[in-house]
Symmetry: C2
Subunit: 421 residues, 2 copies
């Protein structure tokens, strides 16, 4: 971020109308050498001295985590300082408290960098689509997960292989749980849903499923059926309330989202007036994060002398008008499904499976049956269903798994067409 | 727009913090029936009575054209009213004057709907990428042109056929010049370039070439080489200045832009910190235009009580810091080229053509030679060059067209890889 402020300082001042100057900084390891110039920046050992400093207008929090970061952010707010943060976990889990406190103190908390890195998607959805009732959004919002799925697709490699490589390359953390199990994406989705629907942040209501069980086999079958598997965060509102879910998803290969590859992110948002809009770019990394942080800084600096009630509210809706909506349980969520199972190679199995699905009013759009390799007595049976509630599919799957002709578990991956519907 | 304000009125008020109410309207034909409720709106015969009305805060201009629209917009500004407009021609050709006048009067002129319809690309580039030095942008910013090229690609149809259909469907105007000759795109590109680079609007410097000469043949050859032909507006800054150009362009088929189809628009913007970002959605139509207009209205309404110097400047840069940059002449613009020519089917022709190209320091990346249909004595010769200045290519083409072994004109289409380069 310091590099961007230094290199583009003149241009940033031309935009903001005044210079933005970093005056103090701190870090866990103050003696570590940095790839940026620290000229004019006083390095201090204690973060509190920054958030308490009387001449600092804006505090940028790039610590991560929710303990120290939360304390510092609240202390900065209480001291009347504006805050710019890239911390998705902090906003997703403590955003309601933080925004309330900021509101009480008449300061801004800006968090563009918390979702989809350098893509200005918070601004686009919160302000650019302000005329719309936003019906749903779906995004590839974790670069590591998308890198892994892209490699699996491009080269037919296994999840574990690619993960190990991603860790070696520094794309994935030593503990990859946050990325591959969808927690990071769930943080971002909770934020996107709140700004899309004008609801409080509600991270605990996000259903979260990772990509660690996706196999090259599933990716291959999906491709034969005309789909790509992407790890999506999806939020949708309906008369029943709001559904929020992060999980691997088959999407039609012609969709732009299906062609977002590598570490890139993209968010598709559907507004009633505008229809679908998509925002694409780098979801992580020093440059993209700095891009978003500095954009927030420019916004904050422009609004320094603006009365709080004239500023863009934290979630895009006036704080008094934020309203919770019921969380739709996953059993009630309706999608189509990709099902894969290992079936004994004998007559009548397909009839048995189909009849169970019919009992649960699940109609089948496509069936693919794969001959087994020599020496294996079972066939892979792949099905695409029509739209159905997840609860019905789960009940049907439990019965199918009880069949003596079916081995092991049924793989179940949700399918989304991402149309208006 | 009235429909969006009515249907989403409650949600818009939750965002803006106050109700946005349409009170007066006018139109050429006041008695025509409308597909929106006019309850509460007084229809007046004279637009001046709106721009002069003492209780109106914001005037929305959706007239189009640059005569009446300009008079009304300037009069509204002089009366201290904020203006929201969807008029790309007006902003592209009179924006400097209009923004200066708005500045003098302390009012906002918002124009999100003028570029790429419902996609909030003005906001994204002007505010969301404020930390970046924007190096270039490239966009599909005319839906009619993109619809025609998509149909030509999908079905191998000729330009004239598709245009006639588009006119019948209402996608294309009776006089399609603005769309198919690139003038509409050039208006939008001039606006995008100004907000990207902080330069005055400079529509006259946009080089403009339409799609009417693109043939299904070229689209097919491009596909064989791994490219799609799209009508792009491209703006780039370099040490030499700013280049702005609208023309058919071959782009690699794996690029997201290559997969933006039908009437959809998309803008790819490259910032030094963030890298490439892309904004996609509906570029025209009542709903998308209303989406952008209402987003502007919300911004304006939020900023009603804000001091002018704390607002986002019209071009994203403080007006005093807008600086003209030299326009780079097309002869100096460097791209790669697709060349197609009809050559006599005899030995030595390829050698002759190659030697002319070599004289002009143009190296060839790929050559395809197509056997002619029976009875035709000529072969199609297709070449992709490496990067070279347009002036050199033009000189080489003039010499190639002089060869007795080459018939007619050489087709020349620019190729862009849209990488960082």
């Amino acid at each position: 971020m310091i590099n961007v402020l230094t290199q583009n300082g003149a241009e940033i001042a031309r935009r903001a109308g005044r210079e933005i100057v970093a005056v103090q900084a701190t870090a866990k390891n103050l003696t570590k050498s940095r790839d940026c110039s620290l000229e004019g920046i006083s390095l201090v050992p204690d973060a509190n001295s920054i958030v308490d400093h009387p001449e600092i207008d804006v505090v940028v929090e790039l610590i991560g985590g929710t303990d120290v970061a939360k304390q510092l952010v609240l202390r900065a707010i209480d001291n009347g300082k504006h805050v710019v943060t890239a911390n998705k976990a902090l906003i997703a889990t403590h955003g309601n408290e933080i925004f309330r406190r900021a509101n009480d103190n008449g300061v801004i908390v800006a968090y563009e960098a918390a979702v989809a890195g350098g893509i200005p998607v918070i601004k686009a959805v919160r302000e650019g689509l302000a005329g719309n009732r936003i019906e749903w959004l779906a995004g590839i919002i974790n670069g590591t997960g998308n890198f892994i799925l892209t490699e699996m697709w491009d080269r037919g490699r296994a999840f574990e292989d690619v993960l190990a490589e991603a860790q070696a390359l520094g794309y994935a953390e030593a503990d990859p749980t946050f990325d591959v199990e969808g927690i990071d994406a769930a943080h971002k989705l909770a934020i996107l849903a709140a700004i899309a629907f004008g609801t409080p942040l509600s991270f605990d209501d996000v259903y979260t499923e990772g990509i660690s069980k996706i196999t090259p086999e599933d990716i291959g079958y999906a491709a034969e059926l005309g789909y790509r598997i992407k790890h999506l965060g999806i939020a949708r509102r309906s008369d029943a309330g709001v559904e929020m879910r992060v999980h691997p998803t088959l999407i039609p290969e012609r969709q732009l989202l299906a062609n977002v590859n590598g570490v890139k992110n993209a968010v598709l948002a559907y507004g009633d007036a505008v229809g679908p809009t998509l925002y694409y770019g780098a979801g992580a990394g020093a440059g993209p994060t700095a891009s978003a942080v500095v954009a927030d800084l420019v916004d904050v600096v422009r609004a320094l002398d603006v009365q709080p009630e004239s500023r863009v509210p934290a979630l895009g809706f006036q704080s008094a008008s934020i309203r919770a909506l019921p969380a739709v349980p996953m059993a009630e969520v309706e999608t189509t499904f990709y099902l894969r199972m290992l079936a004994a190679e004998q007559p009548g199995v397909l009839a048995e499976v189909s009849s169970i699905l019919a009992d649960h009013h699940i109609s089948i759009e496509a069936v693919v049956q794969k001959q087994p390799p020599p020496g294996i007595e079972q066939v892979s049976l792949i099905m695409l269903t029509h739209r159905v509630k997840e609860g019905s599919v789960n009940e049907a799957i439990a019965r199918i798994e009880g069949l003596t002709t079916i081995s092991g578990q049924v793989t179940r991956i949700r399918v989304e067409h991402l149309d208006a519907d």
